[in-house]
Every structure is written in C-alpha cells, then in structure tokens.
C-alpha cells in the first residue's frame, strides 16, 4: 500500500436495496486512493453512486464487498475523524448556531471554556460572528451551510466528506462559498472528498477529479487538475477552460447514458 494514501478504497461493490422495489447495483468494483491533505472531487451524473461511495467512506453504510481503509484501519462505523457536510446542511433546527457547533465538541475531552472558545473560533472562521444565537430557520441557505461547515470543522476531522455541499445554493452564494472553502482548506489543511456534478466546481476546487460512470458506478478516469494558484481569476484562464472542456466531454457521455437509463 502506498504509505501516502490516507484513504484506500479497494474493489468496493455496493447494492442498494430499497424497502420496496428491486435492488439496484449502485457501485461496481470501485478502487481509489486518496492522499493525506488532498482535495479530491468525485464527479458524475446524478444516480452514479458518488454519494453512496462517500457514505461508505463515512461509515454510514456498511461495506459489503471490497474494503475501505482509513489510515490503515477498515471503516466499520462513523467517526469524528471523518466529518461529513450534507447538501441540505442537516443542522439541528431546534439549536442555535452556537449550540449546533457545540454539539460535536460536547463529546470531546475539552473543558467548557475550551469548547466555547473553539466554537466561537469556527463560527468566526466561517464569517458568522453576530449570528451565534440565531436558529437555522432564521438564516439564508449560504449561512446555514457555513454553520454546517463550522460545526464539522470544529471537531477537527482529518478528513472532510462533502456531499454536494453547495448544490442547494444560488449561483452567487455558491461561487463565494467555493472560494471561501479553498481559503479555509488552506488554513486548516484536511483531506477532502468533494462530491459534485458541477464540472467547473470540481476543476476549480480539486487537486484531482475522479470521473464516475453511470449506473453501476465505476471510476472512469482520474484527471489531475492541480493549477498554480487557485483564485477566482483562474476561472477565465485558457488552461482552466480547456480542462473543464476535457472533463465535460468525459461526463457528457455518462450524463446522456444516465438520461436514457431513467427515461421510461
């Protein structure tokens, strides 16, 4: 095993069995390695199993075929070493921003002032200072996702699992959040697996983009997308646009296939 790989996904096949209806093969023989402090995007059309793969790494679903190792140990359950951020934020709506962020810290060996201080630091980091006592229902979508991000970052996972985290946001908020995520990622380096179906987002954020094929999900190719300095101006560079086009061609085929799949 490559000693640089923090996450090893090895020959994972997953069948989704809904309570009603027939079983669906969601992932077929997926293998992937993610290095420590790498930003990897999982890109593919909807229904390609990219979220399923993320949930398996998170330990939320059991690995039935194949194996997933995190720092050499097989994943068996969720753990605070792998923090997850969901598309729809999954905030506790009856808790304030501060209480949401504190929730993950309550189970850590910290004194109360340390917890308070740490929560405040991460609320400030995501730019939500002044909204500590607000409830999620009083916040905009972008602010909710910032809260979710602060909550996950606060318990200091070494791995960040992001499930289309900006998918529910409007275009402007999304662009802002992308740049902010990169800023946060630079300040608190973590391994990130970022699920998205947005090619430009994937190329902009990630070091590598793993393109997935449609049902059953497989890793089709992995494209290196590391540029010199990632800032919004890069979005207009020739190099960036060409990269997006290249990956778009790979995804387009799958997206068309996915549409034919779901057509009646």
């Amino acid at each position: 095993m490559d000693d640089q790989a923090q996450i090893v996904i090895d020959g994972v096949t997953h069948t989704y069995r809904p309570a009603h209806g027939r079983a669906v093969l969601a992932l077929s023989d997926v293998s992937l390695e993610v290095r420590a402090r790498e930003f990897l995007a999982l890109l593919g059309p909807s229904g390609c199993g990219k979220s399923t793969l993320l949930y398996l790494v998170g330990g939320f679903l059991p690995t039935e075929v194949g194996r997933i190792l995190v720092e050499g140990r097989p994943v068996s359950a969720p753990g605070p070493d792998r923090g997850i951020v969901f598309q729809h934020f999954a905030l506790f709506p009856w808790k304030t921003v501060r209480a949401n962020v504190l929730y993950g810290l309550e189970r850590q060996p910290l004194s109360r002032p340390e917890r308070e201080q740490r929560a405040q630091a991460f609320i400030d980091l995501v730019g939500l200072g002044g909204f500590e006592e607000s409830y999620p229902s009083q916040l905009s979508g972008g602010m909710r996702q910032r809260t979710a991000l602060a909550r996950t970052l606060a318990f200091d996972p070494s791995i960040l699992l992001m499930d289309e985290p900006f998918g529910a946001l409007d275009a402007q908020t999304r662009a802002l959040m992308q740049t902010e995520l990169l800023g946060i990622w630079r300040r608190t380096p973590k391994t990130v697996i970022f699920v998205t179906h947005d090619v430009q987002e994937a190329v902009y954020l990630a070091d590598r983009v793993a393109v997935m094929s449609t049902r059953p999900g497989r890793i089709k190719t992995i494209v290196d997308t590391r540029f010199g300095d990632r800032n919004p101006s890069i979005l207009r560079s020739k190099q960036f646009v060409e990269k997006v086009d290249e990956i778009w061609d790979l995804v387009r085929v799958e997206a068309i296939k996915a549409q034919e799949d779901t057509a009646p």
Binding site: Y55, G58, F60, A77, P78, G79, P80, R82, G83, I84, F86, H88, A90, F92, P93, W94, K95, T96, Y103, G104, R107, Q108, Y135, P136, S137, Q138, L139, S140, G141, R151, T152, F155
Partner: protein
C-alpha cells in the same frame, strides 16, 4: 423532516405592527371579528329563550345560566366540579402523553415491540373505547381511578401514532450528522430524534387533549358523583335545566381554555421552528 425552505426575510412586518397604536386597534378588531359568531349565537339564544316560544324549562335564557354559574362559583360548587373534571382530564392526559410517547418511541426502535403493538394500535385507534366503560367500572369501580383510566385509554392512541409518524419522518442526515459527532443510540433518541419529531408529537398531544376532556365528562356522566359531567346528569335528573345548561357553557369554556393553553405551550416550545415565523 424540517428541511425548511430558504426565506431569509422572515415576516418582520407583522411583528412590528403589534407595537403601534393602530396595530393594537387592528388586533382588537380581529378578536372582535373572530368572536362575533359566538356573541351572535349567545344573543340569539337570549332572544329566543325570552320570546315565549319555548318554556324556560326547555331553554333557560343565557343570562339566567350566567347567573346560575355565578351563584355556583360563590357557593363553591363550581370549583369542586371544575377542579375534579380538570384533575381527571389532565391526569389522564399527562399519563397518556408520557406513556404514549414512550410506547411510540419503543415501537419505532424495537422490532418485537412494534410487532406486538402495531396491530393492537391499528385495531384500537378507530374503536369506540367508551364501550369499555362498563368493564372499567366493574374492574376499577366508579371513582377517580376508573375515570382516569378511561381518559388514558382514549387519549393515548393519537399520541402513539403521532410519535411513530414523527420519529419515522426524522431526516436520516440529521441522525447521521449526530452519529458523525459521536452520539450513541440513547443520545440519538433523546437529543436528536425526539426533538426533531417534536412538532408532530405536539400535534398528537393537541388531538389527545380535547379527547381527554370529552372522555372525562362522559365518564363522569356515566358514573355520577361530582365533576362537571356528573353535575349535569344530576341536574338533569332533578329537572334543573339551568344546571344542565350551565354545565354546557362551563365545558365549552374549559375546552377552549385548554386548547389555547396547549397552543401557547407549542408556540413556546417551537420558537426555533419555521412555523413560529409564519404564524405572526
């Protein structure tokens, strides 16, 4: 789940209005309009009763009924009857609430419990539980225990079903988030699932509360003794029509007050909820 739509501009206007003088006037006007139908009905009752078309025995005027309630309040009979009925209804309601939430939680968590109780709840919910009244009287007598038992028996069903439905609807991602942060099974239930299901559980309680009052009054009517229901039956036997109508008015007021009280508690408990902003 409480996956709330994004409305970054909550209804700030409605809250602001209440503090201005014209706002207070508007609220008074709203209350007046809303209670107009009840006032109209009472006036019609008064006029009809005094028209001579009916005897005061069949329909005593509303004013006479009010006087009767006032006299009962002075002598203290009203408070004994009211207190007993409230005690029976609320004791039964509280037992049904605690037991119903516990049973609903157990049913949604433990397969054997669900296997056993699911059919029983399905059959028992639509059944007229009042049919068990003679049995309960045989087993538990005609005093508080049997009346409260009847209330619990009737009021528990909506609580159980609402708790199960609420817990089932809890967003999977909410539970996953909590597990991600190290919450164990017990914490998941107490800290995440039950609070997330609270809006639906409260709705179940709001259904159960009037049932509790109805059953308490009916049980009192059937078993006699003190209490609003028993007093009405007693009045009826003695051809005391004012007493009967006083009971009707008292029950209506008690029921209304209970419902409003629980709605107030709901608003306080769900201050975080989206509905708190939509209400205003």
């Amino acid at each position: 789940m409480v996956r709330v739509a994004d409305h970054s501009a909550p209804a700030a206007g409605a809250d602001g209005i209440a503090r201005t003088p014209t706002g207070r006037l508007a609220i008074a006007a709203r209350i007046a309009t809303r209670s107009a139908a009840v006032v109209l009905l009472l006036v019609a009752w008064e006029i009809f009763a005094r028209s001579g078309k009916v005897t005061p025995f069949m329909l005593p005027p509303f004013s006479a009924v009010v006087v009767r309630i006032y006299t009962d309040a002075i002598t203290g009979v009203l408070w004994i009857n009211l207190g007993l009925t409230l005690y029976r209804a609320l004791a039964g309601f509280l037992i049904a609430a605690v037991a119903g939430i516990a049973l609903g939680a157990a049913m949604s968590r433990l397969r054997p419990v669900r296997w056993f109780f699911d059919p029983i709840v399905s059959v028992g919910f639509p059944m007229p539980k009042i049919a068990f009244l003679p049995i309960v009287m045989l087993w538990l007598g005609v005093y508080d225990v049997s009346k409260i038992a009847m209330v619990v028996f009737d009021a528990i069903f909506p609580v159980v079903t609402a708790t199960i439905a609420g817990l089932q609807a809890v967003d999977k991602e909410l539970l996953w988030s909590a597990r991600n942060m190290g919450a164990g099974e017990r914490e998941l239930m107490w800290q995440i699932a039950l609070p997330a299901a609270l809006p639906q559980i409260l709705t179940g309680l709001q259904v159960a509360l009037p049932i509790a009052l109805i059953v308490a009054v009916i049980a009192e009517m059937a078993m006699g003794g003190y209490g609003l229901g028993g007093a009405m039956m007693g009045a009826s036997r003695f051809a005391d029509s004012r007493g009967v109508f006083a009971g009707i008015v008292e029950i209506a007021i008690v029921g209304y007050a209970l419902i409003k009280g629980l709605a107030f508690i709901r608003a306080r408990l769900l201050a975080w909820h989206q509905e708190a902003e939509e209400r205003s």
